[in-house]
Subunit: 173 residues, 2 copies
Amino acid sequence: MKRLIVDMDDVMADATGQFIHYYEKEFGIRIERSVLNGKDEGEGFPENHHVLREFPYRINFFRTMKVNENSQEVMEKLNRKYELFIVSAAMEFPQSLPEKLEWLNEHFPFLTWKQFVFCGSKAVVYGDYMIDDLPHNLEKFNGEKFLFTAPHNMHVNRFGRLNNWREVGERLL
Amino acid sequence: MKRLIVDMDDVMADATGQFIHYYEKEFGIRIERSVLNGKDEGEGFPENHHVLREFPYRINFFRTMKVNENSQEVMEKLNRKYELFIVSAAMEFPQSLPEKLEWLNEHFPFLTWKQFVFCGSKAVVYGDYMIDDLPHNLEKFNGEKFLFTAPHNMHVNRFGRLNNWREVGERLL
């Protein structure tokens, strides 16, 4: 059984949408996703973008993220075909640790805690395939790499790309 | 730089001592460590041993563990010689996640969050050396394995053994 490593934020969870939602609550300005295309995380917001470094420290920021479309049904099938691990670089935000665990238990109940890894650097994990939205995570990985499309990676073209969960299913199931 | 993977409970932290302490608080009986020799974790306590499955769910159980003797000074030196990761199978106990992070930050301030990994299964990490007290963690590891002595592994003789942190320093520094 091949090992597949899947990221959470902006892959399983709509992290970008959560930033947009928190930004609108705080400043009354709704930022369109397209405005964020090709800009580093947090750099596409027109002003007060320093708060984007604060949002992830707030209670429930990670707990209340929306699930990305089609991820649940595709993950359930992937879980039968692969040795599946969820690997999230969560260590920077201490409060995110129990919140991410609760989020996974709620939205992906067919996974077990034995499949979850919260780390600082993903350099320490290995497997056959990795799906991630951040180039620096893929770069350290030895297996086959798939860049999951997010606004901040639109300009990156050195990895195989999966644009959504339907494409994940088509490529890996 | 070779990669060294070090476990927390019963390697860096005195988990056995914490179980003994909580057991004494709860039942007024002080269990000697030698009574636990060669018995699975939690199996050496004479009665009410079911509570040993409850203690790890209690607030502060992980946060207040004592640091094992000499671990801090040896780890500080290892941290200069190796690419060092702390890998703890913490996912079974959600409350332990922020507590373990705080514990590491307090007692090992020379390490950074980028070096911490909290997982369910250690099968997903790789490196050159692993120090762990649990045979099943070492068995899944591809590099060189060192069993760190704890009461529950006294009967295990299929791994190289390190009895304390002074021996860790002698072997790996």
